[in-house]
């Protein structure tokens, strides 16, 4: 998807909605890792956790919080 005007909701399916392919999703995970220092474990990089912007954000935030010192 290369159209910046494409109206994407937080609950829209990215992979199963045919918006981005699995290579692009992995690139997002790599970006998150290098930008925020957050690594999504390989086993969690699945449709349940990553298929919408909402779920993806929740998963990343969860990982960031777990990295915070208590």
């Amino acid at each position: 998807l290369k159209n910046p005007d494409y109206p994407l909701d937080v609950d829209d399916s990215l992979i199963t909605g045919g918006v981005i392919d699995s290579y692009s999703l992995v690139n997002i995970a790599v970006f998150v890792e290098s930008e925020f220092g957050v690594k999504i474990p390989d086993t969690d990089l699945n449709l349940d956790n990553m298929d919408t912007i909402g779920r993806m954000t929740a998963r990343i935030l969860k990982e960031m919080r777990s990295d915070d010192p208590v």
């Binding site: 494409y6 109206p7 399916s13 909605g17 045919g18 918006v19 290579y23 790599v30 390989d42 990089l45």
Partner: protein, 577 residues
Amino acid sequence: MILFDADHYCSLAEPLQQRARKNPDAPAVALLHNSRSARILSAGELDQAARRYASRLKLSGVGAGEMVAVGLPHGEDLLTAFWGIIYAGAVPSIFAYPGPLMQRHAYAGRLHDFARECAARALITTPEAAATMPDGSGNSCLLIHRPLPGEEDNRTEPYETSCPDRETPTYIQFTSGTTGRRKGAILSHRAVLEFVQSTITVLDSRSEDVMVSWMPFSHDFGLFGGMVFPVCAGHLTVLISPHHWLRRPIIMLEAIHDYRGTFCLNTNSALLHMVGCAMDSDLADLNLRSLRTMIIGAEPVLLPSLERFTEKFTASGLERRMLAPAYGMAENTLTVSIFDHERDTLADWVDSQALTTHGRAMPAQPGDPGAIVYVNCGQATPETRITIRDDSGECLPEREVGEIFFTSLSMFSGYQGRAKTRGPASEGWHATGDLGYMVGANLFVCGRKTDLIIVGGRNIHPEDLEAVAPGISGLDPANTVAFGVMDEDIGTESVIMVCGLSPLPAPAERFSLEKALRQLIYQTFEVTLGDVRFVPRKWIERTSNGKLARHRNREKYLRELGRSPAPSQLPLQKKDD
């Protein structure tokens, strides 16, 4: 070089059986999953596992010569099932298994349809997929899953080696596509054994060589290149789960480092995925100096992709001489031609004007106006001959563009379930549908006669994509066209759909139609569209007999974006338009 005489064997099972007899404890396969640790199987263990599997298949009712469809995830079970079926003298065909980033709910149904379409005697899958398999009414196929008959009480029938006719099928390699468009290339024992012998010669294969592969067994590149060849030739092969590779592609380079890999396989787009995902920290200790040949194929190979990959990993010891672009297809078991850096020149710059106007690849200098570059796919493998022919079947001289034909000893015997005329063309030559030219003995592939789209090595028929349009209210099925556009950023084709509608709907409605189309295309084919365009109906280009002229629609689409067609998509062939 290893000594391997294809004529010495009567079945594909024999090279592994012989290896297990001579050197049972040497590691044959290392299955890498989620870390740098691996499950290693020796030749003896793989042989024993295949024998047990074969005898249990016999208990299940599968006989020699019968076809067995296999839908299992990448791993030991799939490896054992493949060799077990080969040992049983039956004929496997592997159907791709979905990864964690793919939808699974539709898998059982698709696998079931596949088994029925290829008239399989048995279908081997996971207990989970078997549990959701549609009702088998009208289907006499045996459904087999773990535990296999005799597995729980360790009951076996004694395994007996057999010596089938070498010309009988040993594997059926299906291309992707929907029912009716999917073609199953039948490969005989002889063809695959000849492929092994020819690959040993081409790669100057030595006993200490190590293959590293992430390609799936459902693809001929992964099955024959990554697994069957090294197992039969006596190498260790390090096999990486394709889904794990997708998530962390650097694992392939780490495996080359850890196992001192000498051979590996990649597609053009895979090279760029590795470049994009490798972090500096991954490269710190990486050593690729053991590598001799990285075979790159399954889709057009682009010079900028090779350059970006080499640049990224030079400090780790990667050299351009290690990269070997290749041309191949299931109809020749795998390889038709392969580049050899000691013999061949990697790039050929030609004048695009002479190419499109006269179908002639006239040499040009890099930087000349209109100069474009093609990557050398090297010379024909031993026992393969290549010719370039015009539409009347006449052989063309050097640098003239025409259809690529080949004939060889590792050639397929025909397509399953189709009349013989649809198999290898007359006089034993196969018309590939690809366009190319020769320079000396070197093959350059420069286009395709058909509208087939190839994404990362996977074949997609535009007709299939267009056929979903009636499922979306608001689209005009007669004016919906699909085509592939080479995207150098990702190193493969991007799938584009253009929808002709008059009057053109308002933007909000266009987006909701696009959403519906993207979703339906993904759910039906697992294809992600690169772009969807809405245009007035009269925009759509047609042939003189009213059919969609896909390549002309592609040129128009690119023109409107201010882009030129990629060298692999120039209009080279006069068509009915």
